[in-house]
């Protein structure tokens, strides 16, 4: 394999500039201050541009995420020259690449979805078209259009990284850029579009009586299963997919699917395994809410409404992505000293604890710090927005700025990369002696699950995490 075929993100090696926790703290301080400033400028309802309406801001932040993923993961920074990417100063790279990503984002949202699709295909992408319908005000028109557009990004931010992580970029992984990037991009875009039609289009269609009967399958097929006609049901499991893809790539080091040595089988197992794990998490987060807040009530509004409950499943998932990414990037995927399986388990526990902490902190202080609403289920309460906004900034810092200022980047040679791959290959093998442990572990896992389920109502009765 020629040297230039190794993606930049795999080719680089990030080394701490200083010993101890200093680099981590430095980057945390930098990213949080950028977060604070940009949040105030763009999102905060008390700030300058106030995109947090909430859907307009959500749309931007979600699309920005997916474009960052495209640029770094799929296109490997094409059309920027590898040489520039390797040698430009991290700050320069960060600014230039971020501005380009924002430009692309505006082009896609306002050019493609609103301009092209909104004027030629689907009225719901374009606020101006929506307002031609009787009885819809400008505010709601803008919100609905943003929501429709955002839902596409939700799907794409699962499918795009999953293609790389699970399907390992097949079948185009040996192509050069831009062929590889464009192929995967078009492939994932088409797949996302299909999934969009099957999961989100019905949701948008149902808004427009009576035209829905001519344009969408309504009431949608999931109605009786999810107890709602809202596509928030899909948002729930797809958000979990997004989160699980990152878990898989980061803190889980592709376990346990990397144990499968047949390439095609591994790829499919991982792609659908991610979905299976996500759906499991999705159901569990739903069940947690039932255990803590009681049954969801169809026809209810706010926090007992099934549609909000599903949305909150997605929100809960996002709260766990934040510590997971932090641990992967700035925590060096700690701990590393045990066997991979044990490392993975410990990391998972750390992420669970971190996620709960972020969850509590968010609902306790967000309305004060971020200018969002107080309470869980306010229609204007969207914890996904600040969480993804922060994740965007971390991705820029880690991918575009090579971890500056706390980290310094070095390049690995092709041999080093291959040697690393071989080591991982060797490490990740199934050993029959693991079988009894596996069986015992599964039993313990099931017991732990039921212990949590049994303890949750008691916990919620005796401790109030969030007022």
């Amino acid at each position: 394999m020629a040297e230039h075929d190794i993606p930049y993100l795999e080719e680089r090696k990030l080394i701490k500039r200083w010993r101890g926790p200093l680099p981590m703290l430095a980057n945390l301080a930098l990213t949080l201050s950028i977060f604070a400033v940009t949040w105030w400028i763009f999102q905060d309802p008390r700030g300058v541009m106030r995109f947090y309406t909430p859907y307009v801001g959500y749309n931007y932040c979600r699309w920005w995420l997916i474009i960052l993923i495209w640029m770094a993961y799929i296109f490997d920074f094409w059309p920027f020259k590898k040489d520039w990417v390797r040698h430009a100063h991290p700050v320069q790279k960060g600014v230039v690449l971020s501005l380009v990503s924002v430009g692309i984002m505006i082009l896609i949202i306002h050019g493609f979805f609103e301009g092209v699709l909104g004027n030629t295909a689907f009225a719901y992408f374009n606020p101006a078209q929506l307002q031609k319908l009787p009885g819809i005000t400008e505010f709601y028109a803008v919100e609905y259009a943003a929501q429709a557009c955002m839902m596409f990004a939700v799907i794409a931010s699962w499918i795009s990284p999953a293609w790389i992580v699970a399907l390992e970029g097949r079948p185009w992984e040996n192509q050069k850029q831009p062929v590889k990037g464009l192929s995967i991009w078009i492939g994932t875009f088409c797949l996302s579009l299909v999934i969009y039609f099957m999961t989100m289009h019905n949701h948008m269609g149902i808004l427009y009586y009576p035209w829905q009967y001519f344009t969408a399958i309504t009431p949608p097929y999931w109605e009786n299963f999810a107890h709602t006609v809202s596509a928030n049901f899909h948002v729930a499991w797809i958000m979990c997919c997004t989160v699980v893809v990152w878990f898989m790539e980061g803190i889980w080091e592709r376990y346990p699917f990397c144990l499968i040595k047949t390439p095609w089988l591994r790829r499919f197992a991982m792609f659908f395994g991610i979905i299976a794990i996500s759906v499991s998490l999705c159901f569990f987060f739903w069940y947690m809410q039932e255990l803590v807040w009681g049954d969801a009530i169809r026809g209810h509004r706010r926090d007992a409404a099934p549609d909000w409950r599903w949305l909150h499943v997605g929100e809960t998932a996002i709260f766990f992505l934040v510590p997971a990414l932090f641990l992967q990037f700035y925590g060096g995927n700690w701990p590393n000293k045990f066997s991979t399986q044990v490392n993975v388990l410990l990391r998972t526990l750390i992420v669970i604890a971190g996620g709960i902490a972020v969850y509590c902190l968010y609902y306790k202080y967000a309305h004060f710090l971020l200018g969002t609403q107080k309470g869980f289920s306010h229609p204007q309460q969207f914890p996904m927005i600040p969480m993804i906004w922060l994740i965007n900034i971390w991705l820029i810092n880690w991918w575009f700025m090579d971890g500056w200022p706390g980290w310094r980047r070095e390049l690995r040679s092709a041999e080093e990369v291959r040697a690393g791959e071989r080591a991982i290959e060797e490490r990740d093998t199934w050993h029959p002696a693991m079988a009894p442990g596996l069986v015992v572990g599964i039993v313990v896992g099931v017991v732990v699950y039921f212990a949590i389920v049994a303890a949750l109502p008691w916990f919620s009765a005796h401790f109030t995490l969030v007022q």
Binding site: L133, P134, G135, I136, T137, Y140, Y144, Q147, H203, I206, L207, Y208, Y209, P210, Q212, Y213, T218, P219, T228, V229, S230, A231, D295, I297, R298, G299, H300, R301, R302, D303, A304, A305, P306, D307, W308, H367, Q373, K374, G375, S377, H378, Q467
Partner: protein, 600 residues
Amino acid sequence: MSLHTLLPRPLDPETGPESPAILTALLSGIHLDRRQARALGWRGVRPSALHGPAWTCRVAPLPHIFGLVFLDECTQEESLHGTFAAYVFPAAQDALLDSFPLRALEIALGPDYTDAVRELSAHAEVLAPFCLGQVDLAAARDGSWLSLALSAPARLRLVSRGGVPVPPGAAAQDAPQWLVPPGGLECDVPAFRLLVRLFAALAGTAARLLDAEPDVRLHHTAPAPPDEAAAHGEDRQLHLSASFGSAPRAAPAPGKRLASLPGRYVPRPDELSCLPVMHVLTGFLGSGKTTFLRRWLDFLNGRERYASVIQNEFGQVGLDAALTRSETRVEALDEGCVCCTLADALRPGLQRLLADAPAEQVILETTGLANPGNVLRSLDDLAEFVQPGLVITVVDSLEWHRGGYATQGVSGVRLSQVQQADVIIANKADTLAEKDFEDILRTLRACNAKACILPAVQGNIAFARLDAFLADWQDARTRPPSRQPRLPILAQARGALGTHADEGFASHTLPMQAPVDESALRRMLDAAGPGLCRAKGIVDLLHAGGVVPAVVQYAAGQLEFEAAPQDEDARYLVFIGIDLAPREVVATARGGAVAASPAA
């Protein structure tokens, strides 16, 4: 305006939601003055809190039950925002129910519908098909403003794509195959038009209690983002808001400003009038009028609905007044009957009573012999003091059974009392076998088809039904049965003009200074002759070796005793009936008292 007039403490949403507290303050506050509450259209409220705060209520002029269930509250720096789900529950037989979702119809026709509605808090989930909209309550934390808003679709429509077929077996050959044809409307409820009544009563209540005019605004939007109630393609959403006080931070609600609250209940002139309502209580001798009255007064007093009583006894001594007085203002009109000899005496008595204590209701208890028709005629002259209320007749079921009125028919005063009544209390229901009692009820129904007939034991009924019965007639803008014009039957008219002496009724009062025992009393009652209808009074009763003051009640062959009021010193017995033999009674009394007294 300030919310402190409503809730005299700082709002503290940190200790729990405050919007249910504000709603409670509104609903309870207005009901402290019942008349005011009724003039705003309230026709009963029931709180339900088994799970979360919830209320069910009725608002005139609609017959349906409304429900409000507290959902959630969120707070901002300076304000709090609560949401309540708004329900409408039509009666199971109401035609409106046909426009509700089929699921709602199914629930309404089930056996537990009313019970579930009454405990709305616990059944909010099951009753979700009746949820038609949402009421929002927002308030400044410093109490400087309050805002109420109703959001509901103009029409809640659900289209059934596949249609709903008539269940197999239920359909006749030529009957339509579909309950709802494919693509037809499964439900089509005028949600906003129904809920606006509830909202207007709420907002009107706030306006009254806060003494502030609301800023009323109406706007509409496309349906909300799809959640359940909004789904399936309903009409546009209407948003009606009423804001009180100045709200600098909260932007004014969008929409067109309205001059007044739509859907507000327009009170009738009699509801605005401050005159007390006068009820007439009749019933033949010994039927249990005074017992019934005492229970009624206890009910009213317990609700701080003070009533005054005018009692008129056919007899020289006012026992009934003595029995009732400690609880209530009583004006006694003794000697003779108000319907003939004392028609003019009523006016000064009433004036005196109302000047003394302006009550909400005045109850005129007539003698057991009074013909209510005559009383009603004289009441027309009192329109400047009182509003007409109900004519309530207490019937002694036992006496009716013994007299064979169910089979042979009834006549005279007994008949006219029943015919003229709005409410008939079929008292002493426990003294008869079920079948016999049903005969009595059937006879009563035959005499008076429009009256409300309530079975009672010891004069106990659900007294709230009296108000509800009157209110239902008034809400329907018609007169209650006793006030409806009717052609006087000649014989009756003539009878009514006469005095009771013409019919042979007379009363005799016998002083009872010496103690007597029960058997002596029975002998005296026997001695009075077969024409005795009623005897009552206070005696010193020899009982279990001691002497206790006791009230004697005798009617329809039944002799009963009860404890005498403490401050009554007079001891006497009054006999009422036809062709009485007072001398024999006196003679028996002397002999009996002597014979029975162990001291002698």
